[in-house]
């Protein structure tokens, strides 16, 4: 294939370069020959006839060889058999490969034979090739003549290239597949040489003469070398495949020999002679052919062969050549892919033979892929389903009190309040330690009173004031605190919540199911969180102001302030409770219209839980005021 590519590149190059790529040209021819699908009619006919002949002959030979073996059960035969045993033994291991090899060669029908038949044929043929070579070749020739008289002539037209190719193959050790085919056709050529018009004066004798002696001399050796040469080619190609490939390649060459021998290979010397004469004849034939077919372009293969052979001898049309090279290129690619696929299959086959457990291993390895991913997928699905079931089909609240509380800076204020409270507590303790016993006795009732103010009974829930009292009570208490701050934000938050509830109730009265349970819940949580956060902020600011005032004498006593703060806290706690009840009422109305009443009911429960959590935040912040108020009281008493 490389050759082909290189050829393409150097198509328009000088004759010198072309000469250097002569072998490359030959390679293409071989490929072209081995890929009849797009070959010309003559070529296809040739391929068909050849394989037919091969098949017939093998059947023939099988019968005859068995007969021969039976007849000549002499020591001579046995000896010959022994000689062959080695080769046969080696080949028998390659039988698999051989079986697979053959399909690669187009139109070759040999694969229909079983390994056993081939093996037997091989053995017998090898014997006969030595003993009765002439007889066989004659037989074959007769069969040939009967079955495909006309085709043979066409076949011979192509033979010179085949021969050249074989020689080249031997020299440049290219792929065994091509060698195989060349040999195949070579046999044909030998058989059919009688039909050829042998005249030995080719016009371009000079070169042919140069090559010939070598080729003729190499011919006998070539038969033996083919296996190695082919093998080397493949091994060099795919050395990494090592043993498996080696088996494949020797299998390829054994196919060649099987075919050859089944057709009856003549005596090497005889063959050499025949080849020489035939080559000359073919050379001449080709010249004639060239003249005839050059213009038609029908016989593309003939052209490319001629062109390839003589590109450096004559001014054969380069464009024609390029055209064919492209065609052969495509064939090469498809053929190469076939070959690769086959090598893969074969390699696995050979490996499996050597390792009986391989198939099982492969199955395990390959089988685990889909299984494993499937298992993982199933597990994932199962866990997701379980998670979905665990979390419930109902939509989960997208809002929660804590994050809402934080959103309104409730957490930050609470933490800041804690810091101040801690510091106040520490200062209070240190101040108390500094007090004399008398002083302590004097302030003790005050500190106790303040502590009592912030004693909060968590369960104390006196449902008392409702409605607009909230603002009034709050304002009143803030006034009594006598500190420069207002509870505007707190009041505004509370009003907002009340308005929302009012509009919600109105909507629910006018049209059923106008409010989603989740919407009511979200609004409720947000309102409660904001109200709580604002109150905590208020307490934080109150603390800051109280601490800021420090030692300054105040008009209002800390005890009064503490009581006011406590009252404020209580007002907000009541409001939280009232708001929760009203929001729950809205939710309860929504439950009746909801397609999922259980979920809305659960929201009511969650809302009451949130309400109590809000109350906890508030009570905690109220408790944090205690040390601050006590410290303030202590400052007052010590100042006064």
């Amino acid at each position: 294939m490389d050759n082909n590519l290189r050829k393409k590149d150097t198509d328009g190059a000088s004759s010198d370069e072309e000469e250097s790529f002569e072998s490359a040209d030959e390679g293409e021819e071989g490929t072209a020959n081995s890929n009849p699908p797009s070959a010309t009619s003559a070529e296809t006919a040739n391929g068909d006839s050849t394989s037919k002949i091969t098949a017939d002959n093998e059947e023939d030979t099988l019968g005859k060889s068995q007969l021969k073996l039976d007849d000549n059960a002499s020591s001579e035969t046995t000896q010959l058999e022994e000689e062959v045993v080695e080769t046969v033994a080696q080949r028998s291991t390659d039988m698999d490969a051989q079986k697979g090899d053959i399909p690669c060669e187009d139109n070759n029908k040999v694969p229909s034979f079983t390994d056993e038949i081939q093996l037997e044929t091989e053995v017998s043929n090898m014997i006969h090739a030595k003993k009765d070579g002439d007889h066989f070749s004659q037989n074959v020739g007769e069969d040939d003549a009967k079955e495909s008289g006309e085709i043979k002539n066409e076949t011979t037209q192509l033979l010179p290239e085949d021969d050249d190719r074989v020689e080249n193959r031997q020299l440049d050790e290219s792929g065994g597949k091509f060698t195989n085919l060349g040999a195949d056709e070579l046999t044909d050529a030998d058989e059919n040489q009688e039909h050829c018009q042998v005249k030995s004066e080719p016009s371009d004798d000079s070169l042919v003469e140069d090559v010939r002696p070598d080729s003729v001399a190499n011919k006998p050796a070539a038969q033996e070398m083919q296996s190695t040469s082919g093998g080397w080619g493949w091994v060099g190609w795919t050395s990494m495949l090592s043993q498996a490939t080696a088996s494949v390649t020797s299998g390829l060459s054994s196919v060649i020999e099987t075919v050859e021998t089944s057709l009856g290979v003549p005596d090497p010397q005889e063959m050499a002679r025949k080849v020489k004469a035939e080559e000359k004849a073919v050379k001449q034939k080709r010249e004639e052919e060239e003249r005839n077919t050059k213009v038609t372009g029908d016989d593309k293969d003939a052209e490319v062969k001629n062109g390839a052979n003589e590109s450096f001898l004559s001014s054969f049309g380069v464009s024609n050549l390029t055209n064919v090279v492209q065609t052969t290129g495509k064939e090469l690619v498809s053929g190469g892919l076939d070959a690769l696929e086959f090598i893969g299959k074969k390699t696995m086959g050979v490996l499996a033979e050597g390792d009986p457990g391989l198939r099982q291993k492969r199955k395990t390895l390959a089988g685990s892929g889909p299984n494993l991913s499937q298992i993982l997928k199933e597990a994932k699905d199962a866990s997701e389903t379980a998670a979905a079931e665990a979390s419930g089909e109902e939509p989960r609240p997208v809002i929660d009190l804590f994050s809402e509380f934080d959103k309104f800076q409730g957490v930050a204020h609470l933490e800041a309040l804690e810091m101040l409270s801690r510091d106040s507590e520490a200062e209070l303790e240190s101040r108390i330690l500094d007090l004399t016993e008398d002083e302590l006795a004097a302030v003790k009732p005050l500190l106790r009173a303040v502590e009592e103010v912030f004693h909060i009974d968590d369960d104390a829930d006196d449902d008392g004031n409702e409605g607009d009292d909230f603002k009034a009570e709050l304002d009143e208490n803030i006034k009594s605190l006598n500190l420069p701050f207002a509870a505007d934000k707190l009041v505004a938050t509370r009003e907002k919540a009340r308005e929302w509830i009012q509009s919600c109730v109105q909507e629910q009265d006018s049209s059923l199911g106008s409010r989603e349970g989740l919407d009511i819940y979200s609004s409720a949580v947000s309102s409660l969180a904001e109200l709580t956060a604002r109150t905590v902020e208020l307490f934080h600011k109150l603390t800051e102001l109280l601490l800021h005032q420090g030692n300054q004498t105040a008009e209002t006593s800390s005890l009064v302030r503490a009581q006011s703060a406590r009252k404020m806290g209580d007002v907000v706690l009541e409001e939280i409770s009232a708001l929760s009840t009203q929001f729950a009422g809205c939710l309860n109305t929504a439950t009746d219209d909801s397609p999922n009443p259980d979920f809305v009911s659960s929201l009511i429960t969650t809302l009451y839980l949130d309400s109590s959590t809000s109350a906890d935040y508030l009570r905690n912040s109220l408790k944090l005021l205690r040390p601050v108020m006590q410290l303030s009281s202590l400052n007052e008493s010590s100042a006064s």
Binding site: S383, S391, D406, H413, M419, D423, K541, E544, G550, T613
Partner: protein, 235 residues
């Protein structure tokens, strides 16, 4: 409240955290601490505002990288001397401290040292990133504290330094981002981390609805474990 996540939710969001860094802004009154902060958190410049009483809180979530989200909780303290006794209590639970002075006021720059001393009394110095901020660079014509002076002081006291202007939006983002990055860098080094009884850095679970929330105990514990294991590896 805190068991609002099912077990699967905990598992799903476990590896994703973001942190809350608490930053405190201190400095003389009227140097523009509140303007600086509100420009950063609200994107608007307020020329005049009432003096801060005690402390105000501002929050902004920043992305230091695609997977590191930081919630910056910034405490804006009152600069007035009379509030010092209160702000004093707030220093301890912070991871970064920005001391702001007015480049047009020599007095505010001279007080920086007092603020720094006071802050260092309340905190463990290695736990806090200090930054000196020269504010109001828009009033360049009335500048009385040179950039070099600020730089020199910052370097001498191992502080970061930047000059900003809330009015012309100069270096506001840079100031807070570089502080956050420095804190995160120290966290990665293991110099800073979560500590019991200290709220300078908090770990929060990463969840869209929790971006404004504060994490539950489990995430924080896991993070503490991670911190511990990292320290083990480092030693």
């Amino acid at each position: 409240m805190h068991d609002r996540y099912s077990d699967t939710d905990k598992a799903r969001f476990k590896p994703k955290y973001f942190y809350q860094f608490r930053i405190i802004l201190i400095g003389d009154s009227t140097v523009g601490k509140s303007s600086l902060l509100r420009q950063f958190t609200e994107g608007q410049f307020i020329e005049t505002s009432d003096p801060t009483v005690g402390v105000d809180f501002h929050v902004r979530v920043v992305m230091l990288s695609s997977d590191v989200r930081i919630k910056l909780q910034i405490w804006d303290t009152a600069g007035q001397e009379r509030f010092r006794s209160i702000t004093y209590s707030y220093y301890r639970n912070t991871v970064a401290c920005l001391i702001v002075y007015d480049i047009t006021s020599r007095e505010s720059f001279l007080h920086v040292e007092d603020w720094l001393t006071e802050a260092k009394q309340c905190v463990e110095e290695q736990d806090v990133v200090f930054m000196l901020v020269g504010h109001k660079v828009d009033k360049e014509s009335r500048r009385v504290v040179s950039t070099e002076e600020g730089e020199r002081f910052a370097e001498a006291n191992n502080m970061m330094f930047i000059e900003t202007s809330a009015k012309v939006l100069c270096n506001i983002e840079e100031a807070f981002f570089s502080v956050a990055e420095e804190v995160y860098k120290r966290m990665e080094r293991g110099d800073l981390g979560l500590k019991d009884g200290w709220d300078g850095i908090k770990a929060l679970p990463m969840r869209p609805t929790d971006v404004l929330g504060i994490g539950n105990a489990i995430s924080a514990e896991d993070l503490l474990e991670r911190q511990e294991s990292r320290r083990c590896c480092r030693s």
